[in-house]
C-alpha cells in the first residue's frame, strides 16, 4: 500500500516539495546545533527546557486523541466513526514521530540516546515515557496497517487485532499521563506540582486532537469523495466542546488554588504568564490571546446553532487548537522556570535556528500525514482525479 | 525482464560504487605504511598488559577502567602479572605514551577511527 504515496497530482508533489525544502533547512540547522551545542537556542542555565519540549508536550496530546474516535467505535459500536478511525490513527502516527523527534533534537548528546534502553531506570518517568511512546507508535502502526489492508481486501480485520485495538485505548491515556508525570512530581517546580496537571493534559488533548482531526476531515472532504458523515462530524464536535469545557474548568481550578492561597511560589508563575514579572512579559499577550480564544471557542461550540454550522465549527476548531497550542506549546513549560529556584526572573524566547528546526519537525509530521492520508484515500478509491 | 538494459546498467553502476574502496585502494600508486607507534620515552619497558592484549583490547580495558573509577570509586587496577596501576588515561597511559599524535593517533588515523576521549580528557604538559 505504501506505493500509493508515491504517485500523485501536481498539487500533491508541489506540497511534498515545499515540505522537503523546509525539512532540508531544519536538518541543516540541526547539524549546526549538533556541532555548536544547544547554545544556538534561546535556552540558558535557568530555562533548560523550552520550545522543543513544549512542542513535544502539545503533540503527545494530539497523538493520544486518536482514542476519542477509537473508543466509541470499537468499544461502543458507534458505527458513525467507522470511516474516521483510520484518519485518527494516521494522525497519531506522525504526532508520535514528531514527539520523538522533538525530544531527539533537545538532547545534549543525541548519539547516546540508546543509554535510555541500555540502562533502564524504572524510577525515572522519562524512561517510562520513552517506553509508552514507543509502544504507542508500534500499536498504531499495527492497527492502522491491518485495518486498512483488510478494508482494501474487503474483509473484516483479523480477530487478534481486536485486543490490540482495545489495548491502545488505555495506552493512549497513559502516554499523556506519563508525560504529565514528567512535570507533576517535581518539588523544584511548584507551577507544575498540581494533581490536576495530568487531567488537564488529557482534557486539552481531547479537545485539541479531535479539533485537528475535524479540520483534517473537512479538508479531506474538500479534496476527495470522502465524507465522514454528518453524525460523525457532529459527535466529534461535541467531544471537542465537552473536552474544551472541562479543560477551561481545570484551568480555573488551578487559578483558584494558586490565587486564593496567595502562596508566592504558586502565584508568581501565573503572574509572570499573564502580567509579566519585573518587566519580563513577553508571554503576556500570548496568554491573553489564548484565554480569549478559549472563550470564543466555547461560545461557538456550546451554542448548537454555531456548532452545527460548518463554517463556524471550523473557526471554533481553529480557536481551540490555537488557544491550546499557546497554553501547552508556549505557556506551560516556560512558566515552570520563571521565576527560577532562587526566585529570580529570567528571560527565554526561541531563537531563529530553534524555530527553523521546529518548523522542520512539523514539516516531517505533515509529510508523513500527507503520505498516510494519501494511502488511505487511494485504498478507498476516493481520491478525486483532477 | 522488463527494462532489462536499464536494470543491468543500474546494477553495474551500483556494484562499481559499492566496491569502490576496494578497487580504489588496489589501484592507488602508494601503498600506505603500517602505523609505527612511538615507544615509551620514560624508560618503561612494559605496559599495563602484554602488547598483543593491549592491541586487541585496549578499548575494552579503557571502558572497564572508566566504569570502575567513575561508578565504583575503585581506582587501582591489578594487571594479569599482579602489578598495581592507577586507572587513569591522562595520568597512567599518557605517563609512558605522552605524545598522542605519535601514539594513539598513529593507528587511529590509519584505521579511520575517531574515539572522542580527548574532547574531555586532558593531555598533560601540552594544555590541550
Amino acid at each position: 500500500m505504501l506505493e500509493k504515496a508515491l504517485s500523485g497530482s501536481r498539487a500533491y508533489w508541489s506540497w511534498i516539495f515545499a515540505l522537503l525544502l523546509v525539512i532540508g533547512g531544519g536538518v541543516a540547522c540541526w547539524f549546526w546545533q549538533f556541532n555548536e551545542g544547544l547554545t544556538i537556542t534561546g535556552l540558558s542555565r535557568d530555562v533548560v527546557w523550552g520550545f522543543y519540549i513544549a512542542q513535544f508536550t502539545f503533540l503527545v496530546g494530539v497523538a493520544a486523541s486518536a482514542v476519542m474516535v477509537v473508543l466509541p467505535y470499537y468499544l461502543h459500536d458507534y458505527k458513525a466513526f467507522g470511516k474516521m478511525t483510520i484518519l485518527g490513527e494516521f494522525l497519531a502516527i506522525p504526532a508520535v514521530i514528531m514527539c520523538m523527534t522533538f525530544i531527539f533534537v533537545d538532547m545534549g548528546m543525541p548519539n547516546r540516546i540508546v543509554n535510555v534502553f541500555l540502562y533502564p531506570t524504572t524510577h525515572s518517568m522519562m524512561f517510562w515515557d520513552t517506553v509508552a511512546l514507543g509502544g504507542y507508535l508500534v500499536l498504531n502502526i499495527i492497527i492502522s496497517h491491518w485495518t486498512l489492508s483488510s478494508e482494501r481486501r474487503e474483509e473484516p480485520p483479523p480477530k487478534w487485532l481486536k485486543p490490540i485495538i482495545l489495548l491502545s485505548i488505555p495506552w493512549a491515556v497513559s502516554i499523556h499521563t506519563v508525560t504529565a508525570f514528567l512535570y507533576a512530581g517535581l518539588s523544584a517546580r511548584p507551577f507544575w506540582m498540581t494533581a490536576v496537571l495530568a487531567p488537564r493534559f488529557l482534557a486539552s488533548a481531547f479537545a485539541a486532537g479531535p479539533a485537528i482531526l475535524l479540520l483534517l476531515a473537512f479538508f479531506v472532504r474538500r479534496i476527495s469523495t470522502f465524507d465522514p458523515g454528518k453524525q460523525a462530524i457532529d459527535t466529534l464536535a461535541k467531544i471537542v466542546t465537552y473536552a474544551m469545557t472541562v479543560n477551561v474548568f481545570f484551568v480555573l481550578m488551578e487559578l483558584f488554588t494558586a490565587l486564593y492561597s496567595d502562596i508566592p511560589e504558586h502565584v508568581l508563575h501565573f503572574q509572570f504568564l499573564f502580567m509579566g514579572l519585573e518587566g519580563e512579559n513577553t508571554l503576556a499577550p500570548w496568554m491573553w490571546a489564548s484565554s480569549i480564544l478559549a472563550i470564543v471557542a466555547l461560545i461557538i461550540l456550546i451554542n448548537p446553532k454555531t456548532r452545527g454550522n460548518y463554517g463556524w465549527l471550523k473557526f471554533g476548531c481553529v480557536a481551540v487548537v490555537a488557544s491550546l497550542w499557546i497554553d501547552k506549546g508556549l505557556g506551560m513549560v516556560i512558566a515552570g522556570f520563571v521565576p527560577n529556584p532562587l526566585g529570580k526572573v529570567v528571560h527565554y524566547w526561541p531563537t531563529a535556528p530553534e524555530l527553523m528546526i521546529s518548523f522542520a519537525i512539523y514539516a516531517v509530521g505533515a509529510l508523513i500525514l500527507t503520505g498516510l492520508y494519501k494511502i488511505a484515500l487511494e485504498v478507498r478509491g476516493q481520491l478525486k482525479t483532477n | 525482464m522488463y527494462d532489462a538494459s536499464k536494470i543491468v546498467a543500474g546494477l553495474a553502476v551500483f556494484v562499481v560504487l559499492a566496491t569502490s574502496p576496494l578497487w580504489y585502494n588496489a589501484l592507488s600508486a602508494a601503498s600506505p605504511e603500517a602505523p609505527e607507534l612511538q615507544k615509551p620515552t620514560n624508560g618503561s619497558t612494559e605496559c599495563v598488559e602484554a602488547t598483543d592484549y593491549m592491541r586487541a583490547n585496549h578499548m575494552d580495558l579503557l571502558d572497564q577502567w572508566r566504569d570502575t573509577v567513575v561508578r565504583d570509586d575503585i581506582r587501582t587496577y591489578t594487571s594479569k602479572a599482579g602489578k598495581d596501576y592507577t586507572m587513569s588515561l591522562s595520568d597512567t597511559c599518557l605517563d609512558c605514551h605522552p605524545k598522542k599524535e605519535q601514539f594513539c593517533d598513529a593507528c587511529h588515523t590509519y584505521s579511520a577511527v575517531t574515539p572522542y576521549c580527548w574532547d574531555c580528557h586532558v593531555i598533560p604538559e601540552e594544555g590541550q
Partner: protein, 282 residues
C-alpha cells in the same frame, strides 16, 4: 459486543490497578544499587558553612570559588551569561533563602554573601529522575555523583533540582577563554552534558578534603561524615544553630549554614579584624 465490553472493563480496571500499583512499587524499589542510599551503612558526607566567619570579604569568596573551578576546569563564560557554568558561587543571603520571605533581617545577614553549591541531598530529586543513572547517590559516602560518559544531556536533573545547583554545557567548554590552556589533568566535560559539584570525589579518593574547604583560612567550611558521631562536623551541628535551603521539600540537603550572631564567635575573629589589630598577620 456486550460481553467483550464487560470483559474489557474488567481488564481495564485490573490493568489500572496493576499499573498504579506497579508504578508505586517501581518508584519505591531500587532500580539500581545507587538510588536510595542506606542511612547507617558507609559515610554520610556533609558540609557546614559558617556564615559568621564570612565578612564582606570578596577575596576569600573568590578564592574559594576559584579553587573549585580551577581544579575542575570549569569554563568561565563571564561575558556570556546564557552559557554560564558554575559549581559553587555566591548569592546574597535573602536570595539564597528566599523561601524565608525576609522582610526584616538581622543586620549582619543583610546582603551577606552566601556560598551555594550542590547540597548532595539525602533524598535527591535529581537522581530520582535521571533516565540513565548518569547521576546517582553513592552508597559508600552519600556523594551525589556524575558520570559524564553516560549523560545524554536531557537536563531532567537540572529541572528537578530545587536549588539551581546544576549547569548544562550549552557549548564546548574549551571555548571559554580560561580554558585556552589547561594546567592539570582533570578532564573537562564536553558540550551536551550536565555538570555540578561532586564533593571533589577525585580528592576524596586521595584522602583529601574538597578544594573549597581547603581554600578556607579559618574553618569557614567544615566537611565531614555525619555518620561519625565523633566528627568535627557533628560537633559543629551540636553546638550551633544551622539552617538548610528549602528543607520542607523533603530533599534532606546536607549543606548546613551557621546563622548565629557573629558576636558569638569566641575563637579567632574574621581575618579582616585580625589584620587591623595585628598590623598584617592573619
Amino acid at each position: 459486543m456486550k460481553s467483550s465490553r464487560r470483559g474489557f472493563l474488567k481488564f481495564a480496571g485490573l490493568s489500572a490497578v496493576g499499573v498504579a500499583g506497579s508504578t508505586a512499587v517501581a518508584t519505591r524499589t531500587k532500580a539500581s544499587e545507587e538510588h536510595e542510599p542506606p542511612v547507617t551503612e558507609g559515610k554520610r558526607l556533609a558540609l557546614v558553612v559558617d556564615l559568621r566567619k564570612f565578612s564582606k570579604d570578596d577575596a576569600l569568596l573568590d578564592k574559594i570559588t576559584a579553587a573549585c573551578h580551577d581544579a575542575h576546569n570549569v569554563p568561565d563564560f563571564a561575558d556570556d551569561p546564557k552559557n554560564e557554568v558554575k559549581w559553587i558561587w555566591t548569592e546574597d543571603f535573602e536570595t539564597a533563602f528566599h523561601e524565608q520571605e525576609f522582610h526584616y533581617i538581622r543586620e549582619d545577614l543583610k546582603g551577606k554573601a552566601t556560598l551555594l553549591l550542590c547540597n548532595h541531598c539525602g533524598n535527591p530529586p535529581c537522581t530520582r529522575v535521571c533516565p540513565t543513572q548518569a547521576t546517582w547517590k553513592r552508597a559508600s559516602d552519600g556523594v551525589v555523583m556524575m558520570d559524564w560518559h553516560r549523560c545524554i544531556g536531557c537536563r531532567y536533573c537540572v529541572v528537578a533540582c530545587p536549588y539551581g545547583s546544576r549547569s548544562f554545557n550549552w557549548k564546548d567548554p574549551r571555548k571559554a577563554p580560561n580554558l585556552a590552556k589547561i594546567e592539570n589533568t582533570f578532564p573537562t566535560r564536553m558540550r551536551g552534558v550536565v555538570e555540578k559539584c561532586t564533593f571533589c570525589d577525585e580528592r576524596l579518593a586521595r584522602g583529601q578534603q574538597p578544594a573549597c574547604v581547603e581554600a578556607c583560612d579559618n574553618g569557614e567550611m567544615v566537611f565531614g561524615d555525619l555518620n561519625d558521631p565523633e566528627s568535627e562536623i557533628r560537633q559543629q551541628l551540636a553546638d550551633h544553630l544551622t539552617i538548610r535551603r528549602k528543607p520542607g521539600l523533603g530533599t534532606q540537603p546536607e549543606v548546613y549554614y551557621i546563622v548565629e550572631d557573629p558576636r558569638t564567635l569566641q575563637e579567632v575573629a574574621p581575618a579582616a579584624e585580625v589584620f587591623e589589630e595585628e598590623g598584617g598577620h592573619a
